[in-house]
C-alpha cells in the first residue's frame, strides 16, 4: 500500500479522534408566564405549526388530527386533551413515544401544553 493511502487514512482517524466531545444538551427552561394564563392562539398553536413541526403531516386532508392553527383546537379537544388527568393527554404522551418516535416536543414545549391543559384547555 502506498504511503499516500496510509496518510489519508491516518488523517481520517485523526479527524475522528481529535474532534470528539462529551457535551450534554441542557434541557429547555420552562418559560415563566408571569402568572398569566397560557394562550392557545399565541403559545400552543404555534408549537404545532412553527417550522411545520407537526403540520407537515397533521394538516387538512392528511393525518389526523389536523393541527393547523385554524383547526387545531377543535381537533384535539375531545380525544387528545384530558383535563381530568392532564399528564395523560394524548397530545402530550403520543409525540416522541414508540408509536410516534420521529417527532416529539422539547421539555419547554411540553410544559406549555401541560400548563394550558391544567388551566382548563381554553380556546383563548
Amino acid at each position: 500500500m502506498k504511503k499516500k493511502s496510509i496518510y489519508f487514512i491516518l488523517l481520517l482517524v485523526a479527524l475522528f479522534v481529535f474532534s470528539c466531545k462529551y457535551d450534554f444538551i441542557l434541557p429547555e427552561e420552562v418559560p415563566d408566564n408571569g402568572g398569566n394564563p397560557i394562550s392557545f392562539a399565541t403559545q400552543v398553536a404555534p408549537i404545532f405549526s412553527n417550522g411545520n413541526k407537526c403540520t407537515a403531516c397533521h394538516k387538512p386532508g392528511a393525518t389526523s388530527p389536523d393541527l393547523t392553527t385554524a383547526n387545531a383546537y377543535m381537533q384535539i379537544l375531545s380525544k387528545y386533551v384530558n383535563t381530568a388527568n392532564p399528564e395523560a393527554s394524548l397530545i402530550l404522551t403520543m409525540p416522541g413515544s414508540n408509536k410516534h418516535s420521529w417527532k416529539g416536543f422539547t421539555a419547554g414545549e411540553a410544559s406549555v401544553i401541560l400548563t394550558w391543559i391544567k388551566e382548563g384547555a381554553n380556546n383563548n
Binding site: M1, K2, S5, I6, F8, I9, L10, L12, V13, L15, F16, V17, S19, C20, K21, Y22, D23, F24, I25, L26, P27, E28, E29, N50, G51, C57, T63, N98, K99, H100, S101, W102, T106, A107, G108
Partner: protein, 306 residues
C-alpha cells in the same frame, strides 16, 4: 475514559496500517493468489456495510428507504401509508484500490454523512488469506434547526462549563471493523464490532456505545438471495456515564430478499429499526421486533464504472 478509548483506537488503526505495509512488502516474493469474487453482491447489505468495495473509479448511487412500522396492520397497509418513513440518498466513489469514500443525506434528524471504507485484506481463492477484513468510518452531521436541541446550550460533561450549542455538537461518529468469509458459492457470513460516539446527547444518555454486528447471505438462485442483518448494542457499565439505564437501545433484526445484476442490487426487507445510518441505529433504536416494531424497507444500489 475518553482518553483510554481514543488511545486504544489510535493504536489499533496504526498497528493495522503498518502491519499491512509489511504484509504487502513480504507478499512480493510469494506466489500470487487472487481474491475471491462476490463475497457479497454490494458494499451494502440491507443497511449494513460489507467488506465489498467495487473496482477503482466506480461510482455507486444508493437509495435506502424505510416505511413506518407495521404496528397498525392493514389500516395503513403495514406501515406503507404510515408517517414516520425514513430515506437516505448516497453517493460512493472508489478513489484507490479497496478505498472508498462517500457522502449521503438522511431524512431523520436531517443528517448529512461523510464516510470512508478500506478493505485491508481480501479473502483469497487458495485460502492464503481466509477472510476479508474491512474498516469503515463515518461522520454524521445533524442538520436540524437549533430549536430542536432543547435550550441550545450544552454542559461539558456533568460538571463542566456551560457553552452555546456549537457546530461540533452536531457531529456523531461510527467506526466498524468487519470480518467476512465466503464459505461456499451460495453462503457468505460476516461479523463486525463497532464504536459509536455522539458529541452531544441529552443528560440521561451515553455518548459512547459499542455494538456487534452479524450479516449473512444465502443464495437461492443465480440472482436471488436471502439476506439478514443483526445489530446488538452492548450494555457495558464501564463505558457508561449513567448510573441507571434509561431506554437502552434495542437490537435490530432485519430479514430480506436480494436481487442482483451486474450493476444493480435491490433489497426488500423487514427490519426492527427506523434508522438508516448505523450510529442512529446503535444509539437510539427503540423498535422491538417482538412487539410490532418492524418496518418494511428497500435498498437500491446502482454502479457506474469510469
Amino acid at each position: 475514559m475518553k482518553n483510554c478509548i481514543t488511545t486504544v483506537f489510535f493504536l489499533l488503526i496504526t498497528t493495522i496500517l503498518f502491519a499491512q505495509q509489511e504484509a504487502t512488502d513480504s507478499s512480493i516474493v510469494k506466489q500470487k493468489d487472487s481474491p475471491v469474487s462476490s463475497v457479497f453482491e454490494s458494499g451494502i447489505l440491507i443497511d449494513a456495510q460489507t467488506t465489498v468495495i467495487p473496482d477503482v473509479k466506480t461510482l455507486e448511487f444508493v437509495i435506502q428507504h424505510k416505511f413506518g412500522s407495521v404496528e397498525n396492520g392493514h389500516s395503513d397497509l403495514w406501515g406503507i401509508y404510515a408517517p414516520g418513513s425514513n430515506i437516505r440518498l448516497g453517493l460512493n466513489f472508489v478513489i484507490r484500490k479497496n478505498i472508498q469514500v462517500g457522502a449521503g443525506i438522511t431524512k431523520n434528524r436531517m443528517m448529512t454523512d461523510l464516510s470512508a471504507k478500506w478493505t485491508i485484506f481480501q479473502q483469497t481463492q487458495k485460502n492464503t488469506i481466509p477472510v476479508s477484513v474491512t474498516v469503515y468510518g463515518n461522520i454524521g452531521i445533524d442538520g436540524r434547526n437549533i430549536s430542536a436541541f432543547e435550550s441550545g446550550k450544552v454542559r461539558v460533561a456533568y460538571t463542566g462549563p456551560v457553552n452555546s450549542f456549537a457546530f461540533s455538537d452536531r457531529l456523531s461518529y461510527f467506526s466498524e471493523l468487519i470480518v467476512s468469509r465466503k464459505f461456499t458459492k451460495w453462503f457468505s457470513l460476516q461479523g463486525g464490532v463497532s464504536f459509536t460516539h455522539y458529541n452531544s446527547v441529552e443528560e440521561l444518555y451515553d455518548h459512547d456505545k459499542i455494538g456487534i454486528h452479524f450479516n449473512g447471505r444465502m443464495k437461492v438462485s443465480n440472482q436471488g438471495s436471502v439476506v439478514f442483518n443483526y445489530d446488538q448494542p452492548l450494555k457495558i457499565k464501564n463505558i457508561s456515564e449513567q448510573r441507571v439505564w434509561t431506554n437502552p437501545p434495542k437490537p435490530n433484526l432485519a430479514l430480506g430478499y436480494e436481487i442482483s445484476t451486474f450493476t444493480h442490487v435491490f433489497h426488500i426487507y423487514i427490519a426492527s429499526t427506523n434508522s438508516i445510518l448505523p450510529q442512529e441505529n446503535i444509539m437510539w433504536n427503540q423498535n422491538d421486533w417482538k412487539n410490532k416494531g418492524l418496518a418494511i424497507g428497500f435498498t437500491i444500489t446502482r454502479l457506474w464504472m469510469f
